[in-house]
């Protein structure tokens, strides 16, 4: 039996696969000690062989969640450069805010220590490191209470000798040491240092958490794997050594599941659309592979769906690339002082949540708007009875409740369309060529109308959309990453990286390179064949450059960083088909689609394979509600997928 456990802010989701069927359940999360809810949930099961785990513990700790504060971290840098971590890229996060602050410093100035050493831009050691000095600084740091150490020397991605010597000295004194060349061997001192610092801050927290959890897991004779932000599973050891890769591991699961669904349905271009309680996230899947980005800003603020540099803590590690907007079920609908109707960015959160949850909330949300428009069932997931009156009351504070609700839903759709346009248009892709794979508790409510906004004519709703993200972990492969910068000999560099990952005994290796035209300030990631040749790398780079930016240049290209994923393929659960026979008996209620229409309401588990219905219709299930607007058809496909077309 395999169990996927996704710890979210409100709920801890469990998806259980025993070779035949897939079952799901939810428990309330225990934020201060997330393992409590996890273990509680696992106790209900017998014969668990494997546990796959995604957790937001890393992100929560960095964002200062009470009970998870990061430990004091000391930072060791090249002399003269201790404040690189504070200055960052010297931009301020918001143009017109006179009262802005930089993200809280993870390492205060008196915990930064300067080491006399220097490596030049050609990798030569200009000034060797003095072990005695490092030892003295380590003692000073320990005296100031440091529990973990990060170190980042200039050009250590080219020649790590000095940094490695210093790291060895520090390891004699600190249990947790994060050296920049081990976590992020790439040029750009600020981002590399930040990655090392974030890693150092997370090592004690994630280490303690995983030790505690794996203690229990081993006790029941099972194995524990952790989801990484690049969409692969990793071992507990790897996660404890480089915990930066756990940041954003939760959302990665949904995209992995969407990619597998795309493969099963032969959809070569898909947008994953994940709408939950507070945000909506969009990613692209081309050729069944999710798009990956090399950098992420933890705790960063988004501007029209993209993270703004300088708002969070940069981490250089592969991440599944997602555009995110503040539009979820709990997102608040309001009117500003100028009288304009607005949606977000604030959320009513889980408690009290939307007014229609009947838990004392009185502020109107997107979920309330859906309730007013007749789109929600009388009993919601988690057994909450819909308080329709409360939704109407809340909405009527902003004007005619139906008009306001209808406008709010359309404003939210426009906001989400913006996120989808970003992830596609930025790459020179037309969203109209894509299918939308919609999940998350609120995704299927909005998917079809969102698709209309984008010119998309095919929407796929997987079974159990509310727990699809956890399901993704059951579909993920094992994936370990290694990288190096300026490898010189390309094939030799890839071979060395592959050798460094041979312990994982992978099914195959994936080779990637970050490439640019000489003189450019950014790189594009391209796949690399074997044997690796610069000519073919150039070709792939120029193709991608042409697609993304619309031109090629008569200029040499350079490979900045090469990267290998060692992939061990795992067995995927086969989602069961719905029954071949059955006669659904839809109920009816009035639903608003620009006008009130008497609309059939189906139960999804009553729909047999191949069943087709015409919009307007509502299809309800435990974890979500699918809205089929007029002009759309819905068909029940293999694996219980509901496909909407127009």
């Amino acid at each position: 039996m395999r169990v996927a456990v996704d710890v979210g802010g409100t709920f801890t989701d469990f998806v259980v696969y025993d070779g035949g069927k897939v079952e799901t359940y939810k428990l309330l999360s225990t934020p201060r000690q997330p393992e409590v809810a996890v273990i509680e949930g696992l106790r209900r099961l017998r014969g668990v062989r494997e546990i796959l785990h995604a957790s937001t513990i890393g992100t929560n700790a960095l964002l200062g969640q009470v009970g998870l504060e990061p430990p004091p971290v000391a930072l060791f840098t090249t002399e003269g450069f201790r404040d690189v971590i504070e200055i960052g890229r010297q931009n301020r996060p918001r143009l017109y805010d006179l009262y802005f602050e930089k993200p809280r410093q993870l390492v205060p100035r008196d915990m930064r220590f300067e080491v006399r050493e220097r490596v030049g831009p050609d990798g030569t050691v200009i000034l060797p490191v003095d072990e005695g000095q490092v030892e003295a600084l380590a003692e000073a740091a320990a005296g100031r209470g440091a529990a973990a150490a990060a170190l980042s020397f200039l050009h250590s991605y080219l020649n790590p000798t000095n940094e490695a010597i210093a790291a060895a000295v520090l390891r004699r004194r600190f249990e947790y040491v994060s050296a920049s060349h081990e976590v992020s061997p790439e040029p750009r001192e600020y981002e590399r240092t930040s990655t090392a610092v974030v890693n150092a801050a997370l090592m004690p927290i994630v280490g303690r958490y995983l030790r505690s959890l794996s203690g229990y897991v081993e006790g029941i004779g099972a194995r524990l794997y952790v989801m990484s932000s690049s969409g692969g599973l990793i071992t507990v050891d790897e996660a404890a050594r480089r915990p930066v890769q756990l940041v954003e591991s939760g959302p990665a699961g949904g995209v992995v599941a969407a990619a597998e669904l795309a493969r099963a349905l032969s959809i070569t271009r898909a947008v994953s659309f994940d709408m939950g309680g507070t945000t909506a996230k969009a990613g692209t899947i081309v050729g069944y592979e999710p798009s990956i980005t090399a950098e992420y800003e933890v705790g960063g603020e988004a501007h029209y769906g993209r993270l703004v540099k300088g708002t969070g803590y940069p981490v250089r590690f592969p991440f599944i690339d997602l555009a995110e907007v503040s539009a979820g079920g709990g997102t608040i609908v309001w009117r500003d002082r100028g009288g304009a109707l607005r949606v977000g960015p604030t959320s009513a959160g889980a408690d009290p949540g939307p007014a229609c949850y009947g838990r004392g909330g009185s502020v109107p949300t997107i979920t309330d708007a859906n309730a007013v428009l007749g789109r929600l069932p009388p009993v919601l997931g988690g057994g909450i009875t819909l308080d329709l009156d409360a939704a109407w009351r809340a909405m009527s504070g902003l004007g005619d409740p139906v008009d306001v609700a209808w406008d709010a839903v359309r404003l939210a759709n426009m906001e989400m369309a913006r996120a989808v346009r970003l992830v596609t248009v930025e790459r020179g892709l037309d969203p109209a060529d894509f299918a939308l794979i919609a999940f998350g508790g609120a995704g299927p409510q909005h998917a079809a109308e969102l698709a209309e906004e984008l010119g998309i004519s095919r929407v796929v709703v997987p079974p159990g959309p509310g727990v699809f993200t956890a399901l993704g972990m059951l579909m993920a492969d094992m994936k370990f990453e290694a990288r190096m910068s300026y490898p010189g000999d390309l094939e030799g560099g890839f071979k060395r990286l592959e050798e460094s990952l041979a312990w994982a005994d992978p099914t195959y290796y994936v080779r990637l390179a970050d490439v640019r035209y000489v003189g450019q300030g950014w790189e594009l990631m391209v796949p690399v064949g074997r044997p690796a040749s610069l000519d073919s790398v150039r070709e792939r780079f120029e193709e991608r450059h042409q697609a993304a930016y619309g031109f090629r240049m008569d200029r040499p290209v350079e490979v900045v960083t090469i990267r290998v994923f060692a992939v061990s393929v795992r067995e995927r659960p086969r989602l069961p088909d719905p029954p071949a026979e059955g006669e659904p008996r839809p109920g009816r209620r009035k639903v608003y689609f620009g006008e009130w229409i008497e609309t059939p309401v189906y139960r999804r588990d009553e729909l047999p394979l191949g069943y087709a219905l015409r919009g307007p219709a509502i299809v309800e299930e435990a974890s979500s509600t699918v809205v089929v607007p007029p002009g759309w058809r819905a068909t029940v496909k293999n694996m219980g997928v509901l496909e909407l077309t127009r």
Partner: protein, 517 residues
């Protein structure tokens, strides 16, 4: 159809056009530093929605678009479908020669119902100095090529003759062409998506735009209602040669808006510090925008409450052909400071002390390994102490927000070895709330090279408020390989030789309130 939906859609279209520009631009300056802006205008040229990333473009569009439409009418240039007008004449476009502006009409049912316009900073537009920011320029003709308003695009095609003239006069024609194509791509995306909006919602789109502008004005006036009425004056200075150039402003706050009058400011100078009126408008509008609050949309509704007057022939509204490249960079900072200072008299509890007030521009170049190179950097400083909060150290203030170039990237590309990049501790002014500290950035030359510095606040530090002390002035010096030390002025040009170390220390922000103890 609700106007909010059309307005949101229009804002997103401006953003999407901006993304298209960024995506296809060749130069890192646009791609990475986001030195560009896009706006959607109605038929009268009023800004409906704007996607901006750099404050100095804020209001310059308003001035620039108005003057461009006037000039087109004067010249009898009509823009048909697929046509676009180009201009970089700073006295029209409203910033400096590097900022090339491209305007495309939106045709619908046989008439022009609006425009999409964008502005992007080209890395080089010719002239005697790479990068076209020439510290020695006395007129704009020593800065770069001047393009008057021209119909540069006809029926979707860039005019070849015009393009040839342009490309023959810039140092890196491939990049210039790429960036120009990117600007055209942005307008194509913008006009196409607005046309889709019009197809879907018809005439109501234009009504919604009016509502959006009314909304911007309404929000601005509501925010302004919390400001005291009256006239408030202040003066600040730029450093030039041995003297100080005053920038004076009189801010009048009324029920229907704010007027900023710069009468009494210094006469224009024979140097690049003159700020064209578009820059002055931007820099004067910036403090107003900051203090009105973040919710105010950047459209004509906001601009309509900000009136700016600047006498011709001054450093804040020069007569052509005065040089203007540094007006954007340094003078804009001081204009904003002067306005902040005046508003501090009106609202002492809301206005921070002065920030570093300089972009501290460093331009270096030479010949190395048989090829010529040039490197441009701006260095942040400290923000002023704020009522209730210390200032922030090591950031850009006021009118710029560009990123630094990573040291590892610079060292890989140029013959420089950095020795320090750190917070300049103690440079923020003391106060109840301290000013943020400036930055120390220093490097050694590994080859012969020429360095130009264009910085300010080297003589007088950024002012404190309410009894707070000023921040430390900036300074720069060179330690020659021989050990000899040469102090530099804020505006300086000198040659460096291998082993020479250049050190720049940027100003800290002023303090706010009387310091404890």
């Amino acid at each position: 159809m609700r106007w909010e939906l059309v307005y949101r859609a229009t804002v997103y279209i401006a953003e999407e056009a901006g993304a298209a520009l960024r995506r296809s631009a060749l130069s890192p300056n646009i791609r990475e530093r986001m030195d560009h802006s896009v706006a959607v205008l109605d038929a009268e040229g009023r800004i409906v929605a704007q996607a901006e990333h750099i404050p100095v473009h804020l209001g310059s569009f308003r001035v620039g678009v108005g003057r461009l439409l006037e000039a087109l009418e004067r010249e009898g240039i009509e823009l048909g479908p697929g046509d676009a007008a180009l201009v970089n004449d700073p006295y029209i476009a409203g910033t400096h020669l590097n900022d090339v502006m491209l305007l495309s009409p939106i045709h619908w049912r046989g008439r022009i119902v609006g425009y999409v316009v964008n502005k992007a900073h080209h890395v080089d537009v010719g002239g005697p100095v790479p990068g076209s920011i020439n510290p020695w320029a006395r007129t704009m003709h020593e800065e770069g090529v001047v393009m008057p308003p021209l119909k540069a695009v006809e029926g979707g095609q860039v005019r070849r003759d015009l393009l040839a003239v342009w490309l023959a006069n810039v140092r890196d024609p491939a990049t210039a062409l790429g960036d120009l194509n990117a600007q055209l791509a942005a307008n194509v995306v913008g006009t196409r998506r607005i046309a889709e909006l019009l197809e879907r919602y018809g005439e109501e789109v234009l009504e919604a735009w009016d509502s959006a502008i009314d909304y911007g004005r309404r929000l601005s006036l509501l925010a302004l209602a919390g400001w005291p009425r009256g006239t408030f004056e202040a003066e600040d200075h730029l450093e030039w040669g041995e003297g100080l150039l005053p920038i004076r402003v009189k801010v009048s706050v009324r029920d229907d808006g704010v007027t900023l009058d710069f009468a009494g400011s210094a006469h224009q100078v024979e140097g690049p510090l003159n700020a064209v009126f578009g820059v002055t408008y931007s820099a004067a509008a910036f403090p107003v925008r900051c203090l009105l609050g973040s919710d105010v949309p950047t459209n004509e509704g906001f601009y309509s409450v900000v009136q700016v007057a600047a006498p011709e022939g001054t450093i804040v509204n020069p007569r052509r052909p005065a040089a203007v490249s540094g007006g954007n960079l340094e003078t804009s900072q001081r204009i904003a400071d002067a306005v902040f200072r005046a508003l501090a008299a009106a609202m002492p509890e809301r206005v921070p002390a002065a920030g570093s007030g300089t972009m501290a521009n460093i331009m270096i170049g030479g010949v190395w390994r048989d090829s010529s190179w040039s490197y441009y950097e701006t260095v942040g400083g400290g923000t002023g102490g704020r009522p209730g909060k210390d200032g922030v150290s090591g950031v850009h203030v006021n009118m710029t927000n560009t990123m630094n170039t990573p040291i590892e990237v610079v060292e890989l590309a140029y013959p420089l070895l950095f020795t320090r990049y750190m917070v300049r501790e103690g440079s923020g002014g003391r106060g109840r709330w301290r000013g943020g500290d400036g930055i120390i950035r220093s490097f050694k030359a590994l080859a012969p090279m020429r360095l130009a510095l264009l910085a300010d606040r080297f003589k007088v530090g950024p002012w404190g408020l309410m009894g707070g002390e000023p921040g430390s002035p900036g300074r720069a010096y060179v330690v020659r390989a021989s050990g000899e030390r040469v102090e530099l002025a804020g505006k300086a040009v000198l040659d460096l030789y291998p082993g020479d170390e250049f050190v720049l220390e940027t100003p800290g922000g002023g303090g706010w309130g009387v310091p404890h103890g």
